[in-house]
Subunit: 302 residues, 2 copies
Amino acid sequence: MTGQVVSAELLAVVVAMVDGRPSVLTLGAPPRLPSGPLLPSHLSLQAATRAWVEEQTGRRLGYLEQLYTFADLDRDGGGSGRPISVSYLGLTTPGHPGIGGWRDWYALLPWEDTRTDTTLLDDHIAPGLRRWVESDPAARGERRRRVDTTFGLAGLAWQPELVLQRYELLYESGLVPESPAPWRRPDDELVPGERMAGDHRRVLATGLARLRAKITYRPVVFELMPTSFTLRQLQDCVEALAGRDVHTQNFRRLIEQQDLVEETGDVHAGTGGRPARLYRFRRQVLQERHVAGTKLPTTRAR
Amino acid sequence: MTGQVVSAELLAVVVAMVDGRPSVLTLGAPPRLPSGPLLPSHLSLQAATRAWVEEQTGRRLGYLEQLYTFADLDRDGGGSGRPISVSYLGLTTPGHPGIGGWRDWYALLPWEDTRTDTTLLDDHIAPGLRRWVESDPAARGERRRRVDTTFGLAGLAWQPELVLQRYELLYESGLVPESPAPWRRPDDELVPGERMAGDHRRVLATGLARLRAKITYRPVVFELMPTSFTLRQLQDCVEALAGRDVHTQNFRRLIEQQDLVEETGDVHAGTGGRPARLYRFRRQVLQERHVAGTKLPTTRAR
DNA sequence: CGCCCTTATGCTACATCTGAGCAAAAGGCG
DNA sequence: CGCCTTTTGCTCAGATGTAGCATAAGGGCG
């Protein structure tokens, strides 16, 4: 009973806000996440991830947390051997460009931005999923329920953090190009959105899901902000990550009453309105107590 | 640039409530977690974990979620090769005993139960940590801050879910027997608590941390309950997991108003008080909406 | 310059949630 | 029966969250 010889690979979802849009660091075409094998010289998985990102993109990471470990036989291109993929989520600021490029993550997972319009969901995704629901009479009830809850259809609420479940459902129902061949649809039935190498879109979805969940209970947004920022910029960042809008005044109050930030004394003018005060993150709060992060003052009506 | 040959190992923290105490499934002595290598026949990491637990303990798991992946060079006995350990958290009910035994997890991590008394913390741990703080003048301030926040000393609040941070701090400060030799203390200075094979206590701490966090935002406690139970039994279970007490009436209100349970119609008598109604988990809520789990109606005074 | 548009900020009304405690219901038992 | 225990119902005040009104303070333009 000896174990299989496997290779371990690190994958990094490195996120930054670029021109107000959440973006992910990718290399090449089709875009792939920075990655590399675990080497004997690496002290830990996290250290290995840092090393590979730095080598491939010239970028030194600050915040980095483990996401998930994948080793499914049926995913990831089906090459030889069996790679174990350990994925990490890194948060940074755009800074100098380095190698590789920032890619708007809503270009990769367009259905996840529900702020502007829902025509994509209504015109492409919902009909495609309905076809899939109906295509198996035996599993219809179960499938319909699953579709409705994951995509917030049939009057149910859209749950921002179900990113991975939504991607997996699209994969399973054959609506993305990387879905297994047997269930492939003609091109015009596929859901828009740029595909990535291997199963990297799945890893990206895992990262987005984690990030959306985490900003609601830990102050991680600040890892994505410049040292000095206005509350509006912070709100824009949160909204872009969550893919939904929040109530401005209450958001301000929430941030202020938690002592998450302090004024720098400067103001930022030139936006065509009243100049905004500039703030910086009070990094000490991370030590002072268990701070509740950026809760989203939800708007009742979706 | 070729990857290191590694072996992947699955580790399972399988939890159940046994005689009202949270317990973990272990094998042999010193106790170790069920584990086994990833084999070519396994379709996924999760499937491999299920297979190994079933083979080694005769127990088929229901709820199973991935915990964390470790591959630190300096931990885990330092054997040959480099094992990647992928750990999982399983929740089940004691049922038939099977192979292996249930071990009270507070016998393994005794300082985590703050319900009864805090003499262990006050008499053993705090003094030991203080010695460690003082032993390095350069790092004293930093160490003191870290000790105070992780163990809720110096007037700070005890944070139940910092289980792993507390274990790591004890490990680092040489207060547990598995700490690296250079910092070893004489036996009478070590913190009580049964050690486990390899770094399994670390994995256990990771599992406990995850479980404590998760019961506050997802209804996972019910995976540990029998099909029919009283609200008091449910409360006892939550309290045992969290290692702290909750307010009975408010706990009931919380459970009921979320429609997490429904009455079976039966009652449970014989406890020397008013007979309690029996309830069952409404498993449908998992589909109906994003249910907020068992929030802990915290008592203000610690 | 004065008006209007925009964005930023302050504040209030109201609903809901939470923490805390009183008290009654309903068995067991001497 | 009276007293113990445990379960259950209910109230109440303070905290927190949601929603919206109102004012402050810049830029642009006639």
